[in-house]
Subunit: 713 residues, 2 copies
């Protein structure tokens, strides 16, 4: 591969070499990293991982070597090429969802067919009748029809009930007329719409006989199947450049009285009767909650790998990167020469990075818990029992918000902890962060909008305020005597902390040494007490002081956070307490290897105590912790950093994020940081250009094939 | 200007219109916005502002309309064009620093001549002899020589003493030999080096007669003045794409035994004698501290405009953006129709955004204080009195770290508070954030490295650990009796809080109502008490418990933060307390207009109390606040949000960030958010391309003039 600049080949980095430093790190790890990897993936998935990685890594269509140099057009073109090749591989190898997920993860580039696969097809499956599946799903599965999912509008995101696009039933022709009455009705942000899709599932306000029935879904052909040009009455475009996701054509569409057959309204649950225009209600509102929970559970499940990826780069680089001689504890080479200290040895760096490792592991156990709960709910829903849904709904909303905000903040923290080089695209952080960022906004904005929606819940609302549920539970326990409250005594009930609080609202932390903070019961009690205290206060304000909903939003946000932190810590602690007889094969293995379990316990403790320290004010405001205990808590955190230090590289290696995915000069497995930085820099296309720097001359580049952008804002 | 997509011209956004909503907001403002703007800029600067804006806004070379669509090559080319035009204007209009600063701010694109103007020329002025100025400075001022400042290396950033590039004096030829012995010695991140500069000021380890004298500065010609090609023995390149700053050619350079005349060592303070190679020491170490302080003071001064810019976009958009009907307090149009509530009316949104406004204003007063202090120091240094330098040095380091981290986090908070559209480049946040980000790293990484450097202070070290100074002061007060401590009793001494703490270490907050939290003495006492408590603890740990420096880093970071928060709050409060007889003309005006002063007081209170709430754990750990007071504090914050609400748009309008700078569809002065979003989207160049989406076909774009990137990673 060609370079624009020839780097002198005899030069190497000054000693010690990055590869030696990482080898030393790997020698200090106290547990078998391969076993931890096996626990993380499970045998079956690990086999799939290697099978898929081998294929995509060696396919020229998936070559990543120019990605960081690409502008928008090139990036999009590249993504389209990848998509086509991926479709070919899916067909050739008959890949199922599991394999496709690995491939998409390794490719690491959101593509223009992504929404077709991830939203268009699943929506046809869940909302379409058998006839509709024949008409739309079969060709969609063959990639003849390419679809998108057009819900959000220029003027409306979270408030789905406020969408402005209309679908009016015209009984004369037995058609719907899809129309955008305002500029703000333009569908907006729709993945795959801008350039790719020829069909859209459009969410529009259903109107019939002068009545409005709220948002419903309609299949609309938007582009000509031959020319790929927009059909008459339809205005389509790409919405322009974004922070990330520039390999996707997020698009907009305006409809000018566009007619579609009545058949095209997705009618598995509700429909309009031919001729009369009579509206048939959906049988059960709750069904659509289930799929929202699933989408959030998938997002939550992916957080661990985002965190693991960020921590992998930052920790490996921090082991290689040396800066300053620590005169009190100087580092020496074998030959006795004093060298600068790895920045991973500085406590401040550990304090920034190790909690991210802990978060990554914590997310594993919460993902497992969510998946188990969802499976249990599904089983029960088959016999018409939806009792688990409310809890599941509440926790999935809050956990989606908590974990994705945590991930975005931690990725950026890891990037900044890499100093100057973290700002280079070659760090592997830049595109990664930019593409991950929308997780805080989509499927429910992590802030204000999830709180606003309590009073707008309908079967099509994508967001509801789940924390009403916590208040309901609180009031129920508060008012119930004996038998009813009894249900919350079970340790299996994740709301048991409310009863515990009501039984002893003045409970105090019992820690007298910093070691006491390693006690899991103490940790759990702390988080439960604090969450229940916040709920109790809010309920009191609402019930007894006439507070408006709007005036409570800040408090409610704190409650959401507190409740979900409790859940995450509970999930981690329960997994650590499970005996070797656990039902889960992975946990049985983990509990059977003392060195591994011990390493995990340090991580579990750090997650709980660091989370507590970040919100220390809460724990002291509810009088659970007193000032002297806050000091002990901090002392224990510093101890844990020491405990974890020898395992730092092992803990991130275990995530097995391949170099092909990392695409990072500074986070590579082999530690060849500086060699790679300069090698990649030599290939920057700008290095092929020579300037004319004379300020009086209009000539800018002396040797450029120039190209122009025509349009202007 | 041409579009790729024709948007139906009859469509407009649904009511109410953004322009009407902003007009309503502006009608509720309680003070004269123009007067606040006058206070912010001062008369003279405001005149300059308008003069420069008029020129750059109307110059075709500075047209910004394609910026968001540009890839790296185009962006760099565009920046070079701007630079040339700017040089022409500087020459034509004889602009001085003040005018150039306004122009650069409005242009808002880091350019390839930036380091020439901002570092190369100033270093020649401060470090060069008169002969050297004749040789290098004169042609540099004429832009005949174009320079860069090559300090940082691939392997070394903050630890300047560890730089690997060498400059060995060769007495035989009276030359220095500049050499890069390792790959890690490659200069790296050097602005303007990659493609532009023909000269570099190179920092290298000076060696003479077998002795090493640490890093010194050398002027090295690096490119041929005719061909612009690198000179023999010199390898140069651009370091590749970055998170932002892609309009700049940050570069690398390797030297292979490159000879330069002895004359080229910048010798105002230290030099090598001809022939003997004898080293002449610099007369005074402290001189170079002064310029470091100045650079940091400039960074601190610019923070307010970064925060003001972010707040302007987010608050205007939040006023225009409506989502959900608040049933308890529904909003109505004049005709009685109920409409959705502006998201600015939701308390959660206020809680996210108003503190950013408060931060922006707080930074004004801290910038003023820094500037005044620096001026005082300069005056005194002329008569050889450097006594103010240590304090100034300590506060400038910590404040640079505190304010830039605050700014970056707040810009991102504002962006996320704009929901989905915040992710679009058209929001005006994306490039802005990306280009602002390096402020947390350059001129002293905001974290670990500033702490590490205490023991490496030499006259060339760019970073030192300033907080040793706090410990020294603490020990001094602790051990001194009577007269010596007396010096710290003065309210003018910004370390007086330490004495106050030592006199009453068990002092408690006296607040019994939430109104008490508006008391400025109480606020100041709180921040002083907490900072002194942290210092007292750290000194005790170091002096009495043998703690290593490394084990204290996390605590030291907290101290830095606490001390600088105290300074910021003190600066704001003192300005608010200054009477109408203040020496400062602006403050006199502000104190003479009650409505304006009242608005500022709300902002001052919010800044103090919100800052306190964010670190509530600290204030409770030092037993200054008890739990019931924490509740009162929060209640007062919610009151302040209400106080500030009617003035929200006025407070950001006052910053007078022009639309030309904002380049934001959602933050425009006129509120035409949706019209602009769709207009700009229609101009996305990708909209000129038609795809071939058939997965079996290799043709991707049907109508593209394709271009390729040749090199691969």
């Amino acid at each position: 591969m060609s370079s624009y600049v020839k780097i002198p080949s005899h030069l190497k980095p000054s000693d010690p070499q990055g590869s030696d430093l990482l080898a030393q790190e790997r020698a200090t790890v106290t547990f078998d990293v391969k076993k931890l990897t096996l626990f993380l993936y499970g045998k079956k998935n690990l086999d799939r991982y290697h099978e898929i990685l081998r294929i995509v890594e060696n396919d020229p269509a998936f070559d990543k070597t120019n990605v960081y140099f690409m502008g928008r057009n090139e990036l999009f073109k590249h993504a389209l090429k990848k998509e086509k090749r991926l479709v070919q591989l899916i067909k050739e190898n008959e890949w199922k969802v599991e394999q496709i997920q690995f491939a998409e993860w390794f490719l690491d580039m959101p593509g223009p067919f992504g929404v077709h696969r991830g939203m268009f097809i699943p929506t046809l499956i869940s909302q379409g009748t058998e006839e509709q599946k024949k008409e739309f799903l079969i060709p969609a599965l063959q990639y003849k029809i390419l679809g998108c999912y057009a819900q959000t509008e220029l003027g409306h995101g979270s408030n789905v009930q406020g969408l402005e696009t209309t679908a009016i039933y015209i009984s004369e022709t037995d058609e719907f007329e899809i129309h955008s009455p305002y500029l703000t009705a333009s569908k907006w942000w729709i993945g795959g719409l801008g350039k790719t899709a020829n069909h859209a599932i459009v969410m529009a306000q259903l109107k019939s006989n002068g009545k409005t029935y709220g948002p419903h879904l309609f299949v609309v052909q938007i582009r000509d199947m031959e020319t790929h040009q927009p059909l008459p009455g339809i205005t389509i475009g790409d919405i322009g450049p974004k922070f990330g996701f520039n390999s996707i054509d997020n698009g907009f569409v305006l409809f000018d009285h566009v007619r579609i057959p009545r058949f095209n309204m997705l009618s598995k649950f509700s429909q309009i009767k031919k001729g009369t225009g009579e509206y048939i209600n959906p049988p059960n509102d709750k069904l659509s909650y289930g799929s929202m929970v699933l989408v959030r559970a998938i997002i939550i499940s992916s957080v661990r790998f985002a965190l693991g990826r960020a921590a992998t780069i930052a920790i490996r680089y921090s082991a290689v990167r040396r800066q300053f001689v620590d005169k009190e504890e100087p580092k020496k080479l074998k030959d006795g020469r004093v060298v600068e200290t790895s920045i991973l040895d500085y406590t401040m760096q550990q304090y920034r990075l190790f909690p991210v490792v802990a978060q990554a592991y914590a997310c594993i156990f919460t993902a497992k818990a969510m998946t188990d709960q969802y499976a249990e709910y599904t089983t029960m829903s088959f016999v018409g029992d939806y009792s688990l849904l409310t809890d599941l709904h509440a926790s999935s909303s809050g956990l989606k918000s908590l974990t994705t905000t945590m991930a975005v903040d931690s990725i950026e923290e890891c990037r900044r902890a890499c100093g100057g080089h973290g700002y280079s695209s070659f760090s592997g952080f830049v595109k990664f962060y930019q593409d991950y960022l929308p997780n805080t906004t989509w499927e429910g904005d992590n802030y204000i909008l999830t709180q606003q929606t309590a009073r707008h819940t309908k079967h099509f609302a994508q967001f509801e305020f789940a924390y009403l549920q916590l208040f309901k539970t609180f009031r129920k326990i508060l008012s119930s005597k004996g038998a009813e409250a009894h249900a919350f005594q079970s340790e299996k009930n994740q709301m048991a902390y409310i009863l515990q609080y009501l039984n002893d609202p003045n409970h105090k932390c019992t820690a007298t040494t910093n070691l006491d903070f390693k006690n899991p019961e103490l940790q759990l009690r702390a988080f439960g007490h604090r969450a229940a205290y916040l709920i109790a206060n809010a309920v009191d304000q609402i019930d007894n002081h006439n507070r408006t909903w709007n005036s409570m939003l800040i408090e409610i946000n704190r409650i959401s956070r507190a409740h979900c932190q409790y859940l995450m810590i509970r999930n981690f602690i329960l997994a650590m307490q499970n005996s070797r007889q656990s039902e889960d094969e992975g946990l049985r293995m983990l509990h059977g290897i003392p060195s591994l379990k011990e390493a995990m316990l340090s991580i579990c403790n750090l997650f709980a105590l660091h989370t507590m320290e970040k919100d220390l004010g809460d724990f002291m405001e509810c009088e659970y912790l007193i000032p002297s205990q806050a000091k002990l808590l901090k002392a224990q955190i510093y101890n844990l950093l020491k405990e974890i230090r020898p395992n730092a590289v092992g803990l991130v290696d275990a995530f097995l994020i391949p170099d092909f995915l990392l695409l990072s000069a500074i986070g590579r497995y082999d530690g060849k940081v500086y060699e790679t930085m300069i090698d990649w820099a030599s290939k920057e296309p700008l290095n092929g250009i020579t300037l004319n720097v004379n300020p009086d001359s209009d000539v800018l580049f002396r040797n450029e094939k120039s190209y122009e952008i025509k349009a202007k804002l």
